[in-house]
């Protein structure tokens, strides 16, 4: 019987990365994810890994690029302003088809914002952030257990599809301590010898680059191939969760921490005889449009709850069209959404 231990969210990400065989971690301090860097600094020497505090978030994402090109699992982490700095590097990783895991423990923004948890980077994570026609796989944990589980998953997804997988957490999740059963390694093996940059002994010299200047070089073909990959990811890797949706008349849609709060709201509503349910996307990209349609397409009302000014709600509207009325409740400035407000709103649809 695997043992449950009490772990802080940021620490759980670190331990999960080590479980997944990630031995290279490059980062720069930023609140509210500093515990992760401190954890990796202490933990990686145990496994002969490399911890490096870089001079900036820009440097660290580029170190990840170099390490990934060498054929190993590498990770960096930051929080919203630092993730903004990493956008160029993420675009380059995408253009080079290099796998990597990037952890964003979101905080209040825009600008320097504040250091509390928020959900304001949904657009940045799922709609680009960096330049060009690329996508990242975006995973939204809503508990410390999920931080651990999804981090292990992220490395496998990144390697399978040779792309960036992002863990989109927030400051609260990173700081909270909960009971965790640490995941087992999945044991998946990935042979990177056909493309990694290791020196050309025994083979032709090769290079990895995202520059494709001439028509013969085929930037168009490269980008179309990327879209092909993204289609495969969309077909195979969508993950979502439902809670009390089978007979729900009102479906809440939320991710991450907001989904936790919505769960409490669903419980409160059910106790009052209101048939509420929660649809929780776990992959924000690819977005579970079909599952959402099946779950909420025929309900009386949908309420999207986010800790931002309304970001995921756009994807919800796109998925559901005008099949059902869609309302939005959000808090900005890293304020928490409130159970009482959610309950009030849902009851108002009666």
């Amino acid at each position: 019987m695997p043992e449950a231990i009490l772990m802080k969210g940021n620490d759980a990400v670190g331990e999960a990365a080590v479980i997944a065989g990630c031995h290279y971690y490059f980062a720069y301090p930023i609140t509210p994810q500093n515990e992760l860097a401190a954890y990796m600094a202490k933990r990686l020497p145990d496994v002969g890994g490399t911890f490096l505090q870089a001079e900036s978030e820009i440097a660290s994402i580029n170190m990840v690029l170099g390490a990934s090109a060498a054929g190993v699992r590498a990770m960096t982490s930051s929080s919203s302003p630092g993730i903004s700095l990493k956008q160029e590097g993420i675009s380059y990783l995408a253009g080079c088809k290099l796998p990597a895991v990037v952890v964003n423990m979101m905080r209040g923004g825009p600008g320097l914002g504040n250091i509390a948890g928020a959900q304001g980077d949904y657009f940045q994570a799922t709609k680009g952030g960096g330049h060009g026609d690329y996508r990242n796989i975006v995973l939204a944990p809503s508990s410390v257990q999920e931080l651990a589980d999804l981090t292990v998953l992220a490395f496998d997804l990144a390697d399978t599809y040779r792309m960036v997988a992002m863990i989109l957490g927030d400051g609260y999740l990173g700081q909270m301590s909960e009971s965790v059963v640490l995941p087992e390694p999945t044991g998946k093996r990935f042979d990177k010898s056909s493309w990694s940059i290791t020196g050309c002994a025994g083979r032709e010299a090769r290079y990895i680059a995202s520059l494709r200047l001439s028509p013969e070089d085929g930037l168009e073909k490269i980008v179309l191939d990327l879209q092909d990959t993204y289609d495969k990811v969309t077909a195979r890797e969508i993950r979502c969760d439902t809670y009390h949706c089978d007979d729900a008349e009102v479906v809440l849609v939320a991710f991450g921490l907001a989904a936790r709060i919505c769960k409490a709201a669903v419980n409160a509503l059910r106790a009052q005889g209101v048939r509420a349910g929660l649809f929780r996307p776990i992959t924000l990209w690819p977005f579970p449009s079909q599952a959402l349609l099946e779950t909420a397409g025929k309900t009386r009302h949908v309420l999207v709850v986010e800790m931002n000014a309304g970001q995921m709600v756009e994807d919800v509207r796109q998925a559901l069209g005008d099949r059902t009325p869609i309302d939005f409740y959000g808090r900005v400035g890293a304020m928490l959404v409130e159970v009482e407000r959610i309950v009030e709103k849902v009851k108002s649809y009666a």
């Binding site: 440097a59 580029n62 170099g66 390490a67 090109a69 050309c200 002994a201 290079y207 680059a209 520059l211």
Partner: protein, 244 residues
């Protein structure tokens, strides 16, 4: 007759896109020769910058990895930390190394990363059509200093070797030029030392080359070579700044 000077196997046998008289061609050739002579071709990785030499991986006959503008030392760090026994060379121009990449340049040097950094200083931004660089000389006319660089507005040109020489960790720092045969042969020795240091596991090495950019300086290659020797070298003295 015996062939005593041939094209090196360290270079791919292809024409380059560089302008006539560009210093990159000379430096690439020296680098290729050193790689061949040290027998390290199969374990060398060149990290490419953004700038005229963005396509260096098409010319040097080793594995290559592109990096974003200025990030080559960070990318090289990631590579070398994983592949400790490979020879990782970062090859950069003045914008890459001393404008956008200043932080990466200083910190890779400060950490003493076991890489060899080759800095091609032609006092201008070549690829983008001749804008002012951090190393453009005072009074030098460029597309973005059309009346001559004014230090009161744009600051003074930065001397990379002298700046890095204030750091503890680097084991080799030298400034060379490729304007004359004599200087070019010295430059080759410096490249060899910089790379041998990595082979020997000694630490971080840095070589700066004063190099010609005839096209953007608006000079013939001959005049450009003279300008390197007479004008550039007066502000950027050639010589060694660290040799442990």
């Amino acid at each position: 007759m015996k062939l005593v000077y041939d094209r090196t196997l360290g270079l791919k046998d292809v024409p380059t896109h560089y302008c006539p008289g560009c210093g990159h061609g000379i430096i690439h050739k020296l680098l290729g020769q050193v790689i061949e002579e040290l027998g390290i071709r199969e374990r060398t990785i060149v990290v490419a910058p953004v700038g005229c030499s963005v396509l260096i991986y098409n010319y040097i006959n080793t594995d290559g990895l592109e990096s974003a503008h200025g990030r080559a030392p960070a990318v090289a760090t990631g590579l070398k930390r994983v592949l400790k026994d490979r020879i990782v060379i970062s090859y950069q121009g003045d914008g890459d190394l001393m404008a956008i990449g200043t932080a990466e340049t200083i910190h890779a040097a400060n950490r003493g990363e076991h890489i060899s950094v080759l800095f091609v200083n032609n006092a201008i931004y070549g690829m983008t059509g001749g804008q002012m660089a951090p190393t453009t000389l005072a009074g030098q006319k460029t597309k973005t200093s059309p009346f001559g660089r004014d230090p009161a507005e744009a600051g003074f040109p930065i001397r990379a070797c002298e700046m890095l020489a204030t750091l503890e960790a680097p084991v080799f720092i030298e400034r060379c030029a490729v304007d004359t045969v004599r200087n070019t042969l010295r430059a080759k020795k410096a490249i060899r030392k910089a790379i041998q240091n990595q082979v020997d596991g000694k630490g971080y090495s840095f070589v700066e080359f004063l190099s010609m950019c005839p096209t953007n300086w608006g000079m013939s290659p001959r005049k450009a070579a003279e300008w390197v020797g007479e004008t550039m070298a007066a502000y950027y003295p050639l010589g060694n700044f660290r040799d442990r």
